[in-house]
């Protein structure tokens, strides 16, 4: 088990390095930072001087080594656009994105899992067919359309919920959270829903498929044959056995949550990393884009390490250490 985790850790480091390289090497080609950093009336010499100062004229390899070196030192550089340290900018946006992603994930799990179980157990019911059809439509509508519709319906027409931003946040030890104020929660509902709908559908369908698979398995038939109560059978026996594939996919879907959080954040003006990233694309803010990539990769790797740990928790067969 320790070995299993160490192995994953080493692989993760490798993934991180590769992403750092990609982040750096490829964003070198996107646009020209100098034209973004300077205003309308800056002269050609001034531009050239700035280019030199930023090290943009140095050889590619040299720039990359400097980039990774700085990353390792924890020096993430300064934004071309705001001139703030990138580390601070990103750090201040992480809570927003993580809380949004978390709530979206919670919605997707809390609704998706029961719905998946229900539709697996009653595969032919009317409700099941309706849910399946609705979710199919759900994954077929682009996220941004869903977001805008929600805003106009709940924000403008009904006026129930805020239309943008995070609302009131409270700082807990430097972490700006929306979880502690009513306003914060109200602001969270629409974006989380927008982001969650897609994930919910995936979760539901996955749980359903796995559940139907597991329900056919010998140990479920055996449990039925010895009269284990139905509820216990569905949730204790069947559901727990669907969890390994389900959390695998949820871990992988993290990438999806992040990708679509870019869209959601842009629609809801949600002050998270995705919004920052979009802004930095618009301004060719290479340091922010690069670090964003690295941070995303880091979270991805982290989530997948956690998933690996969860496997070990869920599945006793993986606890190799106590096999005789």
């Amino acid at each position: 088990m320790v070995f299993f985790l160490t192995k994953r850790l080493i692989q993760s480091v490798f993934v991180m390095l590769a992403v750092a390289f990609l982040a750096f090497s490829l964003f070198r080609y996107v646009g020209d930072p100098v034209s973004q950093m300077t205003g309308v009336e800056t002269s050609v010499e001034d531009r050239e001087r700035l280019r030199e100062d930023l090290g943009l004229n140095d050889p590619f390899v040299y720039q990359f080594v400097r980039f990774t070196g700085d990353l390792l030192k924890g020096d993430f550089g300064y934004s071309y656009r705001t001139r703030q340290p990138v580390a601070e900018m990103i750090a201040s946006r992480i809570p927003a994105t993580l809380e949004l992603g978390l709530v979206a994930l919670m919605i997707s799990l809390l609704v998706g899992i029961p719905a998946g179980v229900y539709t697996a157990l009653r595969p032919r019911g009317f409700a099941t067919q309706t849910i399946l059809m609705l979710t199919l439509v759900g994954v077929s509508i682009p996220t941004f359309v869903i977001g805008i519709m929600l805003i106009f319906f709940f924000g403008v027409q009904l006026g129930w919920l805020p239309t943008f931003g995070r609302g009131g946040t409270v700082s807990v030890g430097g972490w700006e959270t929306s979880f502690l104020t009513i306003d914060g929660w109200r602001s969270l509902i629409l974006p989380a829903l927008t982001l969650g709908v897609y994930q919910l559908t995936l979760t539901m369908r996955l749980v359903r498929a796995e559940m139907m698979d597991v329900m056919q398995s010998d140990y479920i038939r055996f449990a039925t044959a010895r009269g284990v109560p139905m509820g216990r059978m569905y949730f204790r026996h069947a559901l727990s056995n669907t969890m390994v594939p389900v959390i695998t996919i949820i871990g992988l879907q993290f990438g999806g949550v992040i990708a679509f959080s870019i869209v959601t954040e842009s629609v809801f003006q949600w002050p998270g990393m995705g919004l920052l990233f979009l802004e930095s694309i618009r301004f060719v803010d290479i340091p922010v884009m690069g670090v964003y990539l690295v941070v995303i990769a880091f979270f991805f790797v982290l989530v997948n390490l956690i998933v690996d740990l969860l496997y070990v928790l869920i599945d006793p067969r993986l606890r190799i250490s106590d096999v005789s």
């Binding site: 990609l22 964003f27 399946l132 077929s140």
Partner: protein
Amino acid sequence: MLDFIKRHEGLWLFTHSPSVMIAAIVALAILIGAVFAPWIAPVDPYDLSSFSLMDGLLPPVWEEFGTSKFPLGTDDQGRDMISSILYGARLSLIIGVCAMAIASILGVGLGLAAGYIGGRFDAVVMRIADIQLALPAILTALLIDGIARGILPPELRQDMRVVVLTLAIALSLWVNFARTARASTFVQMNKEYVQAAMMQGQHPLRIMFVHILPNILGPLLVIMTVDLASAILLEATLSFLGIGLPADSPSLGTLIRIGMQFLLSGEWWILWIPTLFLIALVVSINVLGDFLRDVFNPRLR
């Protein structure tokens, strides 16, 4: 005929589920419309002289001020909505199908080889897949866009946008194929027909593509449909974020992006007609994908 249908499980199921048949008809209709757009669309949206700003913002024919010349109305440029949508579906489908094709060829090839060869090769392919997974599609699109910008001469850039977008989408989808192909290959590797072929001394490529591939096509087909749907959506999303196609190349995504500007202004048709069209297309592809999933995994029925 009836007997034939009865014998073929898939066909039989197909003729017995109305929703799947409707989806197939819708998908087929859209496909035909898209393929034959140049012949059936009243106006060619790429021919700038074929429409005029003076016809701009006309509503569909059933609304006040609508004219039968533009049954579904016009957009802010005076383009006929029907033509835009047909050409839009054409472009979206081209991008989706090509992206899916590239992704499947790349993914299946790598996945199959990884599953077959195993060992270090497998590890390397899967780590590359991990890296790809860590980069959301939008980021991939930007990266590809960046490379293209770096290596393409300027006069090609505009024309290459479709190619760049297709590549970007393909790159963000191949992992699915690779993982599935690899997992299925692992299963097949334990089947004795593969061992028989290996033992006979058949060429590895032949074993992979002639023996194993046909046996793992089922799950791959399912992924293909699902990924076709997501490729189309991804194109729309990228276009919405302004990193997709330019506005004068009408894909369903750019049409919706343009339509978004008229969400509130009363010209609802500019947004909603392409949106509904996109939803109809994606829903029917997904329904077909679901259906295939059922056919290939009878246990889940």
